[in-house]
C-alpha cells in the first residue's frame, strides 16, 4: 500500500513534465493608473494560463518574453481591477488599470506558493489584510487575529506581552492532542511550542506584525489537506511584505503610548475586613463579637494595642492599596524603518524594527528588535532565486510568577493581602521583611511589592526564521521550486530568587538558568503546472515532497547559597543543586499533490492528497494518507444570471477533506523506562510508558458548504460557511487501572464532532460623492462541539469528567448550589433529587454548562473622509461558563485570613430571613456538618459573556500637496486605543481569559499615537 502510493506520486510528477518547448517573442509596454495617468510600478504581467510573467518597473513599463502560442496577457495589481488584453500580433501593449472597490478580485494564497483569485478559490479561507493588524500594540500576530475572521476564536490567557494565546479554528477538534493551528511563515512551518521556563514566551511574537502582508486562515479540511497530518486544527499562512520594483520607497513609522489597568478589583478596606473576620470567627466559636474583634485586630492583623482600640480608632485605621503598588502605567514604543525597491531583475524589501511593550503590571515587559530582508532575483528568464530572512530577538522581564497561587505571586496576592498591612515603613524600607523583626500578618505573609522588586527573572528568545528557494521555469506552463527553510531558536532564561525574600531566605538565594535550542529544518521540492486548453479548460497542478525534522535540546541548572543579594550569577553560589539536559526530536517525510480544474471560470474542481510519515507514530502505522476534493460553481457567471443587475457575484462551494493531528509528544508510541529517580545518593529508573505500535494520526474529516455572494456591485458582499467536522481515532490517553503500574497510554479511540456556521459580511454602507465612506465588516460563528464516542462504551472519560459522550469538551459536571438558608446563613446544595443538602456527595453532580462559547466574532466599522479614517473593532463571546480561580479566592469571604471582594461582603448573610446567595462568613469555611461554600459547585462557575471594544484607530492621511512640499510620498498620523471598553457581567478582573485565571498577570488597555512617513 505504502509503496504503491509513493509510486502514484512519482507518476504524478512524471505526468506534469510531459510537455514541449516553443519559440518565444518579446512584448513590452507601460501600465498606467486610469485615474491620473501615472505609471504603476509593481503590476504583475502574466501570460494567461501560465506562470510566465514579470512585474512593471518604477515608471510602469515592462518587457516580457512570451511563448509564440500565448494569446492573452493578464495585468494584476492589488487594489485594481485585473485586466486581460489579447496579444494578437502586437509587440507593444500599453494599458490602464482602474481602482477596484470589489474585494473579491483580490488574491489569496493557499499554501506552497499557490496564489489564486478569490473568484477561483474553492476553499473556506479567511483573509486578514495588513491594514487590519497594522500598528496595533500587540507583540504577536495570533492576537491580531482576534475578532477578524469568522470561526477563529482567539483567547489571551493573560496580559503578558508576548504571552500565550489560545487559537481555535472551528472548535476543539481534539480532546488531548494539540488544538492549535499550524502556522506557516513564507513557507516555513513554525514550531510554536513555548520553551520558556520563567515567563510565557509566545514564539509567534518573533515577527513584527507590521512586516506582514496578509494572513490566510485555511479553515476547511479540503484546503488544509495539502498540509496533511499537521492541518487538523486549520492552517494559518503568513505572507510577509515583499519588495516591489521601482524607485526605492522608504517608510518610517513610529508610535508610542501607554498601557494601563483595565480595572482594579474592589476589595475590602481595613474596617470591612475587620468586620468580616470578626463575624467569621464569631460564627465559628461563639465567644462574642467583641472578643473575636479584639483577636482579629490584635492577634491576626497585629495592629498595636489591637485589643483595646475604640470604635473611633478602628474607623481611623488606614487601608493600603496593594494592587496599586504592583500595577503601573507602562510605556509602549515602536520604531520601524523599511526600504523597498528594485528593478525588473531584482527586488528587495529591508525592514528593521524595535518594539517596547511594558505591561500595566510591574516587572512585565517585552522588548523586540527585528531585521528582515527579502530578496528576489531573476538570474535568467527561467531561473528565479529568492530568499527571505527574519532575524529577531525578544527579551522579557518576568514577574515573580506568571500565574498560580504561590504566596509571593504579586498578581495573586495583591488583591488578597490583609488591607491593613503596610507596604513601606516610615523610612521607606519595605515592611514586614524576614529578619527585620516585623511580622507580615495573614496567610499571604509576604510583602509582594518587595518580592516583585527584589526577585528577578528574564527570558530571551533569539530567532532565525528564513528560507531560500530557486524556481526554474522548465517550460512556460511548468516550474520547479526547490525550497529550504529554517526555524532556529535559542531560548535563554535566568531566574534569581533573592535571599531577602521568603522563597530563598533560608537557602540564601536561588539561581536558575536554562538554555534551549530548537532546530526546525524543512525542505520541499515542488512542481507547479498551469495551462489553459481551448480557452476553456484551465488546469493548475502542484506536486511535491517535503522533509522536516525538528530537534530540541536544552540544559537547565540551578544553585543556591549566595553571599549577598548583590551576587546573582551561579558562579557565586555555594551549592550547585541540579544539572539537567534533555533532547527530543521528530522527523516527517511527505508527498503531496493538488490539481485544480476550472471550466471557463464557472465550474471549479480541486483534488488534493498528501501522504505523510511521522516518527511520532507506532511502527505499524507511521504513514497516513489525507485526500480531499472540492467543487465550486460561479453561479453569477451563468448567462441566466448575467441580467440580474443587483447580483454581482454568487458562488457555491462544496468540499470534503481529511487532515491529521500529530500534536502529541515525540515518543508517545514508545515503551520507555525513564530516568530521574533518586534515592540514597543513587540514580534510579522507573517504567514510564507502555508501547503502542499501532498509534496513528488523529483524523479529521470535514464537509464544508460555502456560499460567496456580492450584491449591488459588491456593496454588500460576504460568505456563509456551514461545516461538519468529524475527528476520529482521537489521540487520547486511554486510562488503565493504576494497579497496572501506569495511568494511561496514548491511543486512538473516540470521536468528536464540531459543526457550525460562519457568516462574514462586508458592506459599503455609505459611498458619498463628497468622499465620505462607511464600511462595515461583521463576522459571527457558532460552533457546536460534541463528544460522540469514547472507548469501551464509556460515557465519561474516567480521568476527566469534563469529557462526556453527548456533550461538548469542557462540560462542567458538578453539584448545584442552592443558595443560602435564610434562617441560618448556611450554604445549601441540591442533591440529585433536588432536595436541599448541606453535604453534597459525588452522586449529586450534574451538568451545568460548558467552557466553549456558543457564539463569537467581531464587528469592524471604518469611516473615511478626505484623508481622515476612523476604525473601531468590537469582539465578542457568548455562552460559556468558567471558574475563575482568583475570583474563588476572593469569594472566600472570611474563611481564612485574607481579603475578599466587596460584592461578597456586602451581600453576605447577616440576619435571619435574609435572602442572598452569599453565606455567612465562617472561619475555615466549613460549618459543622457542611462543606466549604467555595468548593466545587455551580457557585464557582460564572458566565463570561462579553463584548469588548478591542481597538479603535483614528488616522489622518496628509494630502498630496503638503506631501510634495515636504518631499514625502505619504504621511499618516494616527491614534489608537485597545481594550478601552468592555460590556460584561463578570465580577472577576477580566472575562477574556482561558484557563483557571488564578494569579495571572491581567490584561491591560493601551493608548498609542503614531506617525508613518513614506519618502
Amino acid at each position: 500500500m505504502r509503496k504503491s502510493l509513493l509510486l502514484t506520486f512519482l507518476f504524478l510528477l512524471a505526468f506534469v513534465v510531459q510537455t514541449y518547448a516553443q519559440q518565444n517573442r518579446t512584448v513590452s509596454g507601460k501600465v498606467t493608473d486610469q485615474e491620473n495617468g501615472q505609471g504603476l510600478p509593481g503590476v504583475a504581467v502574466l501570460v494567461k494560463g501560465t506562470t510566465i510573467g514579470t512585474a512593471t518597473n518604477t515608471d510602469g513599463s515592462y518587457t516580457l518574453s512570451v511563448p509564440a502560442d500565448a494569446n492573452t496577457l493578464v495585468f494584476r495589481f492589488i487594489g485594481y481591477v485585473a485586466k486581460e488584453v489579447a496579444i494578437g500580433s502586437q509587440t507593444s501593449i500599453n494599458t490602464t488599470l482602474a481602482l477596484d472597490n470589489k474585494q473579491l478580485s483580490e488574491v489569496i494564497v493557499t499554501g506552497y506558493g499557490t496564489v489564486q483569485t478569490k473568484r477561483d478559490a474553492v476553499g473556506a479561507i479567511s483573509q486578514v489584510a495588513a491594514k487590519n493588524i497594522e500598528n496595533k500594540p500587540m507583540p504577536s500576530l495570533d492576537k491580531a487575529l482576534q475578532g477578524q475572521a469568522a470561526g477563529v476564536l482567539v483567547q489571551a490567557n493573560n496580559g503578558i506581552p508576548g504571552g500565550a494565546i489560545n487559537v481555535r479554528i472551528r472548535g476543539v477538534g481534539s480532546i488531548q492532542a494539540g488544538t492549535q493551528p499550524l502556522y506557516v511563515v513564507d513557507g516555513v512551518q513554525l514550531n510554536v511550542r513555548s520553551d520558556a521556563s520563567f515567563t510565557q514566551s509566545n514564539p509567534l511574537a518573533f515577527l513584527n506584525p507590521n512586516d506582514i502582508l496578509s494572513i490566510e486562515v485555511l479553515k476547511d479540511a479540503a484546503t488544509a489537506a495539502i498540509y496533511g497530518a499537521q492541518a487538523a486544527n486549520g492552517v494559518v499562512l503568513i505572507t510577509t511584505k515583499k519588495g516591489k520594483a521601482g524607485k526605492t520607497v522608504f517608510t518610517a513609522n513610529a508610535y508610542g503610548g501607554v498601557s494601563a489597568p483595565l480595572k482594579k478589583l474592589d476589595v475590602l478596606n481595613t474596617q470591612d475586613y475587620i468586620q468580616m473576620r470578626t463575624e467569621a470567627t464569631n460564627n465559628a466559636n461563639r465567644n462574642g463579637l467583641d472578643a473575636n474583634r479584639q483577636a482579629v485586630i490584635g492577634t491576626e492583623m497585629r495592629i498595636p494595642d489591637g485589643a483595646t482600640l475604640t470604635p473611633e480608632q478602628i474607623a481611623a485605621l488606614p487601608t493600603y492599596d496593594w494592587q496599586d503598588a504592583v500595577m503601573q502605567t507602562g510605556k509602549i514604543q515602536n520604531y520601524e524603518l523599511s526600504a523597498s525597491g528594485g528593478n525588473d531583475k531584482t527586488t528587495f524589501y529591508i525592514a528593521g524594527s524595535y518594539n517596547l511593550n511594558e505591561a500595566m503590571f510591574k516587572k512585565v515587559d517585552f522588548r523586540r528588535g527585528t531585521a528582515k530582508m527579502d530578496l528576489t532575483h531573476k538570474a535568467t528568464d527561467k531561473l528565479t532565486l529568492a530568499s527571505s530572512v527574519n532575524l529577531s530577538s525578544f527579551s522579557q522581564k518576568a514577574p515573580f510568577a506568571t500565574d498560580g497561587s504561590s504566596l509571593g505571586n504579586p498578581a495573586f496576592s495583591s488583591s488578597l493581602i490583609i488591607p491593613s498591612n503596610r507596604i513601606y515603613n516610615e523610612d521607606g524600607s519595605y515592611f514586614g521583611m524576614l529578619g527585620s523583626g516585623q511580622t507580615f500578618p495573614g496567610i499571604l505573609n509576604q510583602n509582594i511589592v518587595a518580592v516583585n522588586d527584589y526577585n528577578d527573572a528574564s527570558q530571551r528568545n533569539n530567532f532565525v526564521v528564513g528560507n531560500i528557494s530557486a524556481t526554474y521555469q522548465i517550460i512556460p506552463s511548468l516550474s520547479f521550486k526547490s525550497f529550504y527553510g529554517l526555524d532556529y531558536r535559542i531560548v535563554q532564561g535566568r531566574s534569581y530568587r533573592d535571599p531577602r525574600t521568603s522563597d530563598a531566605y533560608a537557602r540564601k538565594g536561588l539561581g536558575q538558568v536554562e538554555s534551549t535550542w530548537n532546530t526546525n529544518f524543512i525542505t520541499s521540492q515542488t512542481l507547479n503546472y498551469n495551462q489553459t486548453f481551448n480557452d476553456q479548460h484551465t488546469v493548475t497542478a502542484l506536486a511535491g515532497f517535503e522533509y522536516k525534522t525538528e530537534q530540541q535540546e536544552g540544559i537547565f541548572t540551578s544553585a543556591d547559597g549566595f553571599p549577598s543579594p548583590e551576587f546573582r550569577y551561579l558562579n557565586s553560589a555555594a551549592n550547585p543543586l541540579s544539572a539537567s539536559e534533555f533532547f527530543t526530536n521528530f522527523k516527517r517525510i511527505s508527498g503531496f499533490g493538488r490539481v485544480n480544474y476550472s471550466f471557463g471560470g464557472k465550474y471549479l474542481v480541486a483534488v488534493t492528497a498528501r501522504y505523510d510519515g511521522s516518527s511520532r507514530f507506532g511502527t505499524n502505522n507511521q504513514f497516513g494518507l489525507f485526500p480531499s476534493v472540492q467543487l465550486g460553481w460561479n453561479v453569477s457567471e451563468e448567462e441566466f444570471l448575467k441580467s440580474v443587475d443587483f447580483l454581482s457575484f454568487l458562488k457555491l462551494r462544496a468540499s470534503y477533506g481529511t487532515t491529521g493531528n500529530d500534536q502529541i509528544s515525540n515518543f508517545a508510541s514508545r515503551g520507555l523506562y525513564g530516568s530521574g529517580a533518586l534515592y540514597n545518593g543513587s540514580a534510579g529508573i522507573n517504567p514510564s510508558q507502555l508501547p503502542n505500535p499501532d498509534l496513528k494520526w488523529e483524523r479529521n474529516e470535514t464537509v464544508n458548504l460555502g456560499l460567496d455572494f456580492g450584491f449591488f456591485n459588491d456593496r454588500i458582499a460576504g460568505t456563509i460557511e456551514v461545516y461538519n467536522r468529524m475527528s476520529r481515532d482521537l489521540l487520547l490517553d486511554q486510562p488503565v487501572s493504576w494497579t497496572a503500574g501506569y495511568g494511561a497510554f496514548t491511543s486512538n479511540v473516540g470521536e468528536l464532532r464540531n459543526r457550525g456556521i460562519e457568516l462574514e459580511i462586508r458592506t459599503a454602507n455609505i459611498q458619498s460623492a463628497g468622499g465620505f465612506t462607511w464600511n462595515t465588516n461583521f463576522n459571527i460563528a457558532r460552533n457546536e462541539n460534541e463528544v460522540m464516542e469514547l472507548y469501551g462504551g464509556l460515557d465519561v472519560l474516567p480521568s476527566d469528567n469534563t469529557i462526556r459522550v453527548g456533550y461538548p469538551v469542557g462540560t462542567i459536571f458538578t453539584q448545584k448550589y442552592a443558595g443560602v438558608n435564610p434562617a441560618t446563613g448556611r450554604p445549601m446544595f441540591y442533591d440529585i433529587n433536588d432536595n436541599i443538602t448541606y453535604t453534597p456527595v459525588l452522586a449529586d453532580r450534574r451538568i451545568i454548562g460548558d467552557t466553549q462559547p456558543e457564539w463569537y466574532g467581531g464587528l469592524t466599522n471604518t469611516f473615511a473622509f478626505k484623508g481622515f479614517e476612523l476604525d473601531f473593532m468590537f469582539q465578542y463571546e457568548y455562552g460559556r461558563i468558567q471558574s475563575d480561580g482568583q475570583l474563588n479566592f476572593l469569594s472566600e469571604n472570611g474563611n481564612r485570613q485574607f481579603n475578599t471582594l466587596q460584592y461578597f461582603f456586602d451581600n453576605r448573610w447577616t440576619t435571619p430571613g435574609q435572602i442572598t446567595s452569599v453565606p455567612r462568613p465562617y472561619n475555615n469555611g466549613i460549618e459543622p456538618g457542611g462543606v466549604n461554600h467555595v468548593s466545587a459547585s455551580s457557585r464557582i462557575y460564572n458566565k463570561v459573556d462579553y463584548i469588548r471594544l478591542k481597538s479603535i484607530t483614528f488616522a489622518y492621511n496628509v494630502p498630496t500637496p503638503f506631501l510634495q512640499f515636504a518631499r514625502l510620498s505619504s504621511a499618516k498620523v494616527y491614534a489608537q486605543g485597545s481594550n478601552l471598553f468592555t460590556y460584561d457581567d463578570f465580577k472577576g478582573y477580566d472575562p477574556e481569559f482561558f484557563g483557571s485565571a488564578t494569579g495571572i498577570i491581567p490584561q491591560g488597555k493601551n493608548y498609542t499615537v503614531g506617525i508613518q512617513l513614506g519618502f
Binding site: R507, L672, S675, Y679, S737, A740
Partner: protein, 517 residues
C-alpha cells in the same frame, strides 16, 4: 538541446524524490535519549540496580512517606489539630469525606516496578553472571518493598483483621504479583479486591523471604535489611492480631539490635541526627533536589520553626500541631487563659510546666510569624542540611518493645505474659523519663494488669510515635473511636476508611468501593 536540459532536470527531480522515499522508513528513525526502551531496559546489572533505586524513590512521594503516611494518621486521629494557616489538614482533621489517604497510585506503581524487576532478575544474562548473593540482595529488597506497599495499602483502604465491621467490609486490596509489559496486559488488568487475609498472607510470605535473603542492618537503615524485614513483620503480625508471630519477630530484632534503644539522655540528640540511631528502616532524603519543599514537607507541615529554640525565624506553615489531649499525654501543661482554656494558639501562648518525659522536649512553642503560635513538634527540622529535608523513620527499635509488650498483654493472646509485658513497658519508660527509676510511676506500673496494662502500653505508643504516622492506624486496628473536638469519629463511621480512587472504580467493574462513597 533545451529539451535535454529540461528532461535532465526533471529526471534529477524524480530521482531525488525516488531516493528520498525509498529510504523513508529509515529517515523516520529517531530514539529518545533520556529514556530507554522498555523491552531492553532491565537487561543489565546496572539497570536492575537502578530499577530497585527507582522503587525506593517512590517511597519519598508526599503521598506516602514524604508526608501523608506520617502526617495524615495524626490529622485523622486525636493527635493533630489543624491551624488553618494554609488550609492544609483542615479537612482531614475534621474527618471530612474524601479527606483521607490517596496513595493507591503511588503504591501500585511501585508494586508494578517491583514485579517487573523480580521477573527480570532470573532472566538476566550478563557477564560476569549474577551471583546468588547478588540475586538474594536484589530480591530481598524488592520483596521487603512489596510487603511494605501492600501492608500500607491494606491498612489504609481496608479494615484490619479482627475488627472489621462486617456490614461495611468490602475486603482488602487487589493483589497483583505480575509486571505489566504490554498494552493488552494493562487494559485487561481489572482486578477485584482480594481478601484481607490473602493480602496479609502475601505480606508474610514476602517478609519471610526478605528476612532470609537480606543481610543484617549495619549503619544504613535507608536500605532494606534483615532487621527491617523482621521488624515490619512484627508490626504486620500485630495488626493481624497474630500475637505469637508478633512476639517471635520482635524478639528476633530485639535480640540483635535491642541495644539501639536510646537512653533518656540520648533521645533528643538522636532526633537531631541525620539518621535516627533507633531506625530499623527509614526513607532517606539525601540531597536538596529531593526536597519536597515549603508546601508539603513534614517540617513545614508540623512546625514554623527553622532552628530549635529560635522563635524569631519563621520557616514553614506549621499546619498540624498537637491537640490538647496529646499535650497532656506528653506531660506538657499550658498556661491557661482567663476562661481556663489553653493558651496554645493565642498571643499569650506559654508552657507552664513539663513532665520528666524527654519526648516532650521535641515539642516547643512555634514562631508567631504566621499568626498566634502553637506548641509544635520539631521531630522534622531539616536535619539533612537544608530546611524541609529530613529522613523519615519508618521502623524504630522502640516499636519492637511496644509491639512485644502489646502482644504479651492483649487479653486472649496465645503468648499472654503480663510480667514480661511490664518489663518491656519498663524498658521503654526507663529510657524516656529522666527520673523513672525513682518515681512513683515505676512502682504503680508494676501493679498494672489486664486492660489497664494494655491501655498504658497504647498510651506509650501514642507518646512514643506521635507525629510519626501511627496513631490513626493504632486506633483503627484496635477498633476504637477517635475521640476529638469538635466531633468524635466513631469507629463505625464510614469515614474510617477512604474512598478508593474514583477513576479506578469507573474503569473497573470488578472493583467495589468502600461503604459510604
Amino acid at each position: 538541446m533545451k529539451m535535454n536540459i529540461k528532461y535532465k532536470l526533471s529526471s534529477i527531480a524524480l530521482l531525488a524524490a525516488a531516493l528520498t522515499f525509498s529510504s523513508c522508513e529509515k529517515a523516520l528513525e529517531v530514539d529518545p535519549r533520556q529514556s530507554v526502551d522498555i523491552a531492553t531496559a532491565l537487561n543489565s546489572r546496572e539497570n536492575v540496580n537502578a530499577a530497585i533505586t527507582g522503587v525506593y524513590s517512590r517511597l519519598k512521594s508526599a503521598r506516602v512517606y514524604g508526608r501523608d503516611m506520617i502526617a495524615l494518621p495524626e490529622a485523622l486521629s486525636d493527635n493533630g489539630r489543624a491551624t488553618n494557616r494554609s488550609g492544609r489538614f483542615v479537612n482531614e482533621s475534621n474527618n471530612q469525606p474524601n479527606a483521607h489517604f490517596i496513595h493507591w497510585q503511588n503504591y501500585y506503581y511501585a508494586i508494578n516496578d517491583i514485579n517487573l524487576a523480580l521477573e527480570a532478575i532470573p532472566n538476566l544474562n550478563v557477564t560476569p553472571a549474577v551471583t546468588d548473593a547478588e540475586k538474594a540482595t536484589w530480591e530481598g529488597q524488592l520483596q521487603f518493598l512489596r510487603a511494605l506497599c501492600y501492608f500500607d495499602l491494606v491498612r489504609s483502604y481496608a479494615y484490619d483483621p479482627g475488627t472489621a465491621i462486617s456490614s461495611q467490609d468490602k475486603g482488602g486490596v487487589p493483589l497483583l504479583l505480575n509486571g505489566v509489559k504490554t498494552l493488552e496486559d494493562a487494559v485487561l488488568r481489572l482486578p477485584a479486591r482480594s481478601s484481607v487475609a490473602d493480602v496479609y498472607k502475601q505480606v508474610y510470605a514476602d517478609l519471610q523471604a526478605a528476612e532470609a535473603k537480606l543481610g543484617n542492618l549495619t549503619t544504613t537503615p535507608s536500605i532494606a535489611s534483615k532487621q527491617a524485614a523482621q521488624g515490619l513483620l512484627a508490626r504486620v503480625a500485630l495488626y493481624n492480631k497474630d500475637y505469637a508471630t508478633a512476639k517471635e519477630y520482635a524478639d528476633k530484632v530485639i535480640a540483635t539490635h535491642g541495644s539501639r534503644l536510646l537512653t533518656a539522655g540520648g533521645y533528643v540528640n538522636g532526633w537531631r541526627n541525620r539518621v535516627n540511631p533507633e531506625s530499623l528502616f527509614e526513607v532517606a532524603f539525601t540531597i536538596n533536589a529531593e526536597n519536597i519543599g515549603v508546601n508539603e514537607s513534614l517540617q513545614t507541615s508540623f512546625t514554623t520553626i527553622v532552628i530549635a529554640g529560635n522563635r524569631s525565624q519563621t520557616g514553614g506553615f506549621g499546619d498540624l500541631v498537637p491537640t490538647e489531649a496529646l499535650l497532656t499525654d506528653l506531660g506538657i501543661v499550658m498556661t491557661k487563659t482567663a476562661t481556663g482554656a489553653s493558651t496554645s494558639g493565642t498571643a499569650a501562648v506559654a508552657i507552664a510546666s513539663r513532665s520528666t518525659d524527654v519526648r516532650n522536649l521535641l515539642y516547643e512553642i512555634g514562631t508567631a510569624g504566621r499568626g498566634a503560635a502553637f506548641v509544635e513538634t520539631t521531630k522534622f527540622l531539616g536535619k539533612n542540611g537544608s530546611i524541609n529535608l529530613d529522613n523519615v523513620p519508618v521502623l524504630r527499635i522502640s516499636d519492637m518493645f511496644l509491639i512485644r509488650a502489646e502482644a504479651l498483654s492483649t487479653p486472649g493472646s496465645p503468648v499472654l505474659d503480663e510480667a514480661a509485658a511490664r518489663l518491656d513497658l519498663k524498658k521503654i519508660k526507663e529510657n524516656r523519663y529522666t527520673d523513672y527509676g525513682a518515681s512513683t510511676a515505676a512502682v504503680s506500673d508494676l501493679l498494672l494488669s489486664g486492660q489497664d496494662l494494655l491501655n498504658e502500653i497504647i498510651r506509650q505508643r501514642r507518646i512514643e510515635f506521635a507525629f510519626e504516622g501511627h496513631r490513626f492506624f493504632d486506633l483503627k486496628r484496635l477498633g476504637r473511636d477517635i475521640v476529638k473536638s469538635p466531633a468524635t469519629l466513631p469507629f463505625s463511621d464510614y469515614k474510617i476508611l477512604p474512598s478508593l480512587p474514583v477513576r479506578e472504580l469507573d474503569g473497573n467493574p470488578n472493583l467495589v468501593n468502600n461503604t459510604g462513597y
